[in-house]
């Protein structure tokens, strides 16, 4: 069994008066893919946005409880979110490359964190990140073209490359394939398989098949509660909870 990388304890999240997460206790293993499934609005995205404190951006959002990464509490007002997000990268549902060149998209993160002092170092980081994101061969001759000019799947891989350019430990993926066609999806899934050797990955997905294909561990959320979590194989073949059973067999959701 792998080591625990991220540990959430009694996590409650509120949007104004509405409670979005109820006492979520979830452990995520290092260098593994954890899939979070559940119907829309069940709190999966809210949960992963707690891991890199992206919920801070939302004025009315209040987070209570604990999240530890490597045993260190991150839900602490004193903690510097900039260095947290350097360690915990994120890929969003809709590809959101900056309207800049492909090169600038990748080099932006390292630049602001002071990684890659020289042009050579930056070039290296850009090449390494794009190779890891399996995009290098497709774009190496047009690095100065705008990232927004790529196809949807390429844009999403560009965003993955952008996330890994700062060399994070964790990558959060919020339905990364929901806007992509099956071929692009297959490429991203292959990529996730490769990336899990280096990174701890949490992926939110609506596709049961995708969860089965890419993840080792799966958590099922419903109405803000974590209903069941366990090895992916077990969740999909022999879940303990009736609701999980109903959801994965398509009876609701």
């Amino acid at each position: 069994m792998s080591d625990i990388k991220i540990k959430s304890k009694n996590l409650n999240v509120y949007y104004g008066d509405k409670q979005a997460l109820f006492d979520v206790n979830l452990d995520l293993n290092e260098k593994e893919v954890t899939a979070l499934i559940g119907p829309s609005g069940c709190g999966k995205s809210t949960f992963i946005r707690c891991i890199n404190r992206m919920n801070d951006v939302i004025d009315i959002c209040k987070v209570e409880g604990n999240i530890e990464i490597d045993g260190i509490e991150i839900n602490d007002k004193e903690l510097d979110v900039v260095s947290l997000r350097e360690r915990v990268g994120m890929v969003f549902q809709k590809p959101n490359p900056f309207p800049k060149s492909i090169y600038d998209n990748i080099s932006y993160g390292p630049k602001i964190h002071g990684k890659g002092e020289t042009k050579n170092e930056l070039d290296e980081i850009v090449e390494r990140s794009l190779k890891k994101a399996a995009l290098w061969e497709e774009v190496k001759d047009r690095l100065d073209e705008p990232g927004t000019g790529l196809s949807g799947g390429q844009q999403q891989r560009l965003c993955i490359a952008r996330a890994i350019s700062v060399n994070p430990e964790v990558i959060l993926m919020d339905e990364p394939c929901s806007a992509l066609d099956p071929i692009a999806t297959a490429k991203i899934e292959e990529l996730i398989d490769e990336l899990k050797k280096t990174y701890t990955i949490v992926i939110v997905t609506h596709s049961m098949a995708q969860a089965v294909r890419v993840s080792q561990k799966t958590g099922f959320f419903h109405l803000g509660k974590l209903i069941e979590v366990g090895l992916t194989e077990k969740i999909f073949k022999n879940p303990d909870n009736k609701m999980t059973q109903d959801y994965i067999t398509g009876r609701f959701g």
Partner: protein, 420 residues
């Protein structure tokens, strides 16, 4: 109603709508055409002036200078006798009245024009040259066909004798139409043939420059703070409502405010571009903040999230990503705000820019005219020559506005980036 009937009705209503739309556009264009045609037909003649070709003899006996006098000595010297002699020689006048009428055909600045010609060419003492002297406003208007000559003599500003001289000059090819350099280089004047928009141009330029320097940074920083950093609560809502209201406040109210605070309390010099610029900046501020905030709001949140997710601070995500994307909209909003300020008249009248200022301002704290107020001033003047000057000034003002709006559109189209 059958299906066919319903379908026909739908098609008819679409046709009607198209017709109304086309008709509206036609009416709007018609109004623009009438306006532009009116201004052009009245104003275009102001860019030409009428001059009379005369022979000037720099008589050593009448001149107070000789060849080799210094520039200062020439500037001090009197060219009056030479001027009068020149004019009287151009046509035989029998008595003093006729002589005076003859002199009235030339601009009051004839002496200065002769002096300038003397300064430009060296060693003219004792020599004769041909010079084109600007005609008086009456002759100018007569020659341009703006003055009716079939009125009875006692209702005309031009006497029968003057008409005779004019006809004689025309027959001798002595009347010439030249480019009206005075219109651009001179300040205001009581004599229409000498009046120009030089002072108003410089005054407006200084005013708009000060307006830009004050309003742009304040408006941009206020917008960025309100849009990106400020918490959303009752206080910021209140500020937002106030900004929107301020943009709708009649401009004359800003004039009253400036009159009270800038002139009466702080005692800044009145009629100056400095005060005009500050007043216009107050007025323009909300008009820039609104488009500036709109263009910040138009940047999709995913760009901010993308930046934050790679570990950019709030400040970095705003200034590296959001602001550059909002810049084209911000700039074009600013330019359109400035264009409005350029055409603003009411507040400037209240702060005293309506004063009669002949000099072209050297600094923003000299008394000055401005383009829209110049239009207002001249439109009130009785002399015929000011009618064309008024329209010509409007033409200048309109062309500045068109250029500014064009630049705004260009900036937006050139630098606006497309996202997803």
């Amino acid at each position: 109603m059958t299906k066919e009937e319903r379908l026909k009705k739908r098609h008819n209503s679409e046709k009607r709508f198209r017709f109304y739309g086309l008709a509206s556009i036609f009416v709007a264009l018609l109004f623009v055409l009438i306006l532009v045609n009116n201004i052009f037909s009245k104003g275009s003649s102001a860019f030409m002036k009428t001059a009379i070709n005369v022979e000037v003899f720099f008589d050593p006996e009448l001149l107070e200078v000789k060849n080799g006098s210094t520039l200062d000595e020439i500037q001090e010297a009197d060219f009056y006798d030479v001027t009068i002699e020149t004019i009287l020689k151009s046509y035989p006048a029998k008595n003093l009245d006729e002589e005076n009428e003859l002199i009235d055909l030339f601009t009051t600045d004839a002496e200065i024009e002769i002096k300038n010609a003397f300064i430009k060419n060296n060693n003219l003492v004792g020599k004769k040259i041909n010079l084109e002297i600007t005609a008086s406003d009456d002759i100018d208007q007569l020659h341009k066909g703006n003055y009716p000559r079939d009125l009875p003599e006692d209702r005309r500003r031009i006497s029968n004798f003057q008409l005779k001289i004019y006809d004689n000059f025309v027959a001798d090819d002595k009347i010439i139409k030249n480019f009206n350099n005075y219109f651009f280089s001179n300040g205001d004047s009581r004599n229409p043939e000498l009046a120009g928009i030089g002072g108003a141009l410089v005054g407006s330029f200084y005013s708009i420059l000060i307006c830009l320097l004050l309003s742009f940074p304040v408006a941009v920083l206020a917008s960025i703070y309100l849009e990106e950093f400020a918490p959303k609560n009752k206080i910021t809502d209140f500020i937002e409502i106030n900004i929107n209201n301020l943009a709708a406040v009649p401009s004359i109210v800003y004039g009253l405010l400036a009159l009270q605070i800038l002139l009466a309390t702080i005692q800044l010099p009145r009629s100056t571009p400095l005060v005009a610029g500050i007043t216009l900046a107050l007025m323009t501020l909300p008009r820039i903040i609104i488009p500036c905030r709109a263009s910040l709001k138009a940047v999709p949140p995913s760009i901010r999230e993308g930046a934050l997710a790679v570990g950019a601070s709030k400040f970095q995500s705003v200034f590296h990503h959001v602001v550059p994307l909002a810049l084209p909209g911000t700039l074009s909003g600013t330019i359109i705000g400035l264009a409005q300020a350029l055409g603003e008249t009411a507040p400037l009248i209240l702060i005293g820019m309506v004063a009669f200022v002949v000099d072209i301002p050297a600094t923003p704290i000299d008394p000055s005219a401005s383009l829209p107020v110049q239009v207002y001033l001249w439109s009130e003047s009785a002399e015929r020559g000011f009618v064309e000057k008024t329209s010509a000034t409007i033409m200048m003002l309109l062309s500045f506005l068109i250029v500014m709006n064009f630049v705004a559109v260009y900036l937006r189209q050139k630098f606006e980036k497309r996202w997803n």
